[in-house]
């Protein structure tokens, strides 16, 4: 295997988990998340010789998020046939409540708003970088963040909602 290919394999293995989870946060569907992550990795590999020395992870993340923003037209929802994630810690009921609360919050946002929230609060990117990666203004990122916060406050927290939802 060529050196560049070996580097890509290592990159793909280390990045795919976070890419998949980011896609899941944006779609609420694990199958679509896997497809989106795969698409992002395909496009990243197609440009690998150009980006491998730069920010390959940033490139893959931007491809993923823009792919989902452009392609996603249906509202987010949790698919009842999805398997629950394997639990690593804590109480199962609490984790299920957290997951539902999270999907409720994200589901109330538009695809672009969701992308902004995921880039800002899951990837912890500064607002200016979120704006750059999505091709929107800094003001849009700020206002979206504050709108998300309002919805979050209106929805309450997992603790205040309980698990019976």
């Amino acid at each position: 295997m060529a050196r560049g290919d070996a580097e890509f394999v290592e990159f793909a293995r280390s990045a795919s988990g976070r890419l998949r989870h980011a896609a899941f946060l944006m779609t609420g569907n694990h199958h679509q998340a896997e497809d989106a992550a795969q698409t992002a990795l395909v496009r990243t590999y197609a440009s690998w010789s150009r980006i491998r020395e730069e920010d390959a992870y940033g490139y893959a993340r931007t491809v993923l998020v823009n792919h989902l923003v452009d392609g996603w037209r249906r509202p987010i929802r949790e698919y009842p046939t999805d398997n629950l994630p394997e639990q690593r810690r804590g109480d199962v009921a609490d984790d299920v409540a957290t997951r539902r609360w999270l999907l409720d919050i994200l589901g109330a946002l538009s695809p672009r708003e969701r992308a902004i929230v995921v880039l800002r609060y899951y990837f912890d990117l500064p607002e200016a970088q979120v704006a750059r990666e999505l091709g929107v203004s800094l003001g849009t990122v700020k206002s979206t963040g504050s709108r998300a916060l309002q919805k979050l406050r209106a929805t309450g927290t997992p603790a205040t909602q309980g698990t019976g939802r």
Binding site: D5, F8, V9, A12, R13, S16, G17, R18, R20, H21, F24, L25, Q38, L41, V42, R43, T44, Y45, A46, S47, W48, R50, Y59, T62, V63, N66, H67, D70, G71, R73, P85, E86, R88, G90, D95, T98, R99, W101, L102, I105, S110, V117, V118, Y121, Y122, D124, G135, A148, L149, L152, R153, T157, P158
Partner: protein, 250 residues
Amino acid sequence: MTELEQLRRAMRATERPYPEDLDLTVIMRDGRRLRRRRRLAGAGAAALVTVLVAGGVGLGVRWTRPPAPDRPPARVATVPDATPPATSPPTPGPTRWRPPSPQPIGEVVDTGIRYGVDQRVFYLVAVDVPEEPRVRVGLMAGRRSPAGGLTNDMVINDVQGSDRRPGFHEIGYDEATPPDDDRPPVPTFGYFVGPATRIVGTVRGRQVDARLARWSTDPELVIFWFDPVDLTPGVRLDGIVARDAAGRRL
């Protein structure tokens, strides 16, 4: 803990231990194909190009062109009008052979969109879709330099039926995200066959008017595109309608 902190924590808490089931062979194979397609489109010459368009449909198009250099020239009668004259076939040399670009059929349409000194243009080119004899043309998005040279960026065409069927045909979305470094983003474009004088796309509840131009060879074929200022290249339309001069929906 603030709400945002709670949101952050929830996003991480819901991470699953994703299994090591990446099919890297498929990813790298598809990546190589995509890279090849980009290079071919960038070079303005391809024997086989697949363009993904609305609805994830794969379009196969073979631009008609002279024979490959490692084969004897085909008979002149089989070379369509759109290809360069048979008297000037490509000369395979010891260095690098570049297949000729597909030649525009009819006039090249200038969109008014500029990239420095280059113009965004559209033109019809000959295509050859196996077992679809009524699909003979595709719509190319290209760039024209001040010297008049054309660079092909992206072609769309039907894969079944007839390229002159009334109504909308395939719509070209630029899927290179982030944008390809080798070329500027291609505006969303397509063509409609019929007496359309207005074409309006809808995206997220917003209506966007397309720019129109009639094909010089067949005025029934209306080329349309969306200015990148009105519609970001690559953003998918939720709907599109064509209207005639009386405002009737076609």
